[in-house]
Symmetry: C2
Subunit: 203 residues, 2 copies
């Protein structure tokens, strides 16, 4: 464990990994996704994570010149660590302070960790539109992989505000009913059922 903490024990390392678990991101995306990190710290973290073989950066000269950072296979394996932290931290999140949950990305990432993927049908792909931002939820191998951006093809789509999504995970069925469902209604209801109360479950 000490070896693991040598690599991802720094204050921001796991938060950077968490951002990249949703898909590749640019330097400035990471900066705004990690409020308060400071540009020097981010560049140092990225360099360290790159040296540790957790992150790679790649240029995308296709449409616009930019560099994106993404996780290696080793980095993606940190999802078990991130998920464990999310699950443990979710129970201590007693008060849904208005300032606490700001970013749809954070919500979707946590959601994937909190839902029991085994209650969903293997291979189902969901599209979530949270405050207008599209995300993909993929049920495979008994757990759920989240990524930003819309899926090529979705089994079902859920749309709604971040607040309604959030309250739904805390057991608010009224909020859950406010979410707009499209596509396979049966599949959507399975996800809704799994979501409901996800943040308050002990497991």
């Amino acid at each position: 464990m000490a070896r693991a903490l040598d690599v991802v024990g720094d204050r921001w390392a796991l938060l950077v990994v968490r951002e990249l678990l949703l898909g590749p991101r640019r330097y400035s995306d990471l900066l705004e996704g990690l409020p308060g990190i400071g540009t020097n710290v981010l560049s140092t973290r990225l360099r360290d994570l790159r040296a540790a073989g957790i992150v790679v950066h790649r240029r995308t000269p296709k449409p616009t010149p930019a560099t994106v950072y993404e996780l290696t296979a080793d980095g993606r394996d940190l999802r078990s660590v991130v998920d464990a932290l999310v699950r443990w931290g979710a129970r201590r999140l007693t008060a849904p302070d208005t300032d606490d949950i700001l970013d749809p990305r954070w919500f979707v990432g946590s959601l994937a960790a909190l839902i029991d993927g085994k209650t969903l049908v293997e291979g189902t792909t969901y599209r979530l539109d949270v405050d207008g931002a599209p995300f993909t939820l993929d049920a495979r191998g008994g757990d759920i992989a989240a990524s930003h951006g819309p899926p090529p093809a979705a089994t079902a789509t859920l749309k709604g505000t971040l607040r309604d999504f959030f309250n739904a995970t805390r057991g608010d069925k009224t909020a859950a009913r406010r979410l707009v469902v499209e596509g396979d209604v049966r599949a959507a209801n399975k996800l809704l059922a799994a979501m409901t109360g996800a943040a308050t479950r002990t497991t």
Copy 2:
């Protein structure tokens, strides 16, 4: 996750938790179990962890006056986080450097995280004597709980040097055969089989 890291994201916090997962410990035990921590940092961490409801300290006036620190239920739940880190870090532990693995406590704690508890018989209690230090391994609920000290009653006992134990987890069958088995041989062999190659498995 940010909330979780607020509490256990500090440099030594999870290492302190890891020590206490093996059972209650005194201040000076923790100091020597965490090389390089510095007494002021330890006292600060313990105060913070106590304020967060993860650790409590209790006086034991029975035989000798001393203060022991132990985890609350919330603190014990961090085992999933610690185990995830151990499993992730184990694969990066390529070289079995002679200086890397020093403490039998660290080995036993990692072992419990790396073994698949479902291959053992529910309720089995093992005693491990590693370099003469006794430990308890309890198979319950599909995973394995490790603690320091001998069990009241053991189904089987394994004795050996730390090096032999360690090499056994890396697939060295010669080292595994050097371990002395007492008690229920069938149960002991189940554990040995689960141990063998535990550190190199991908899962």
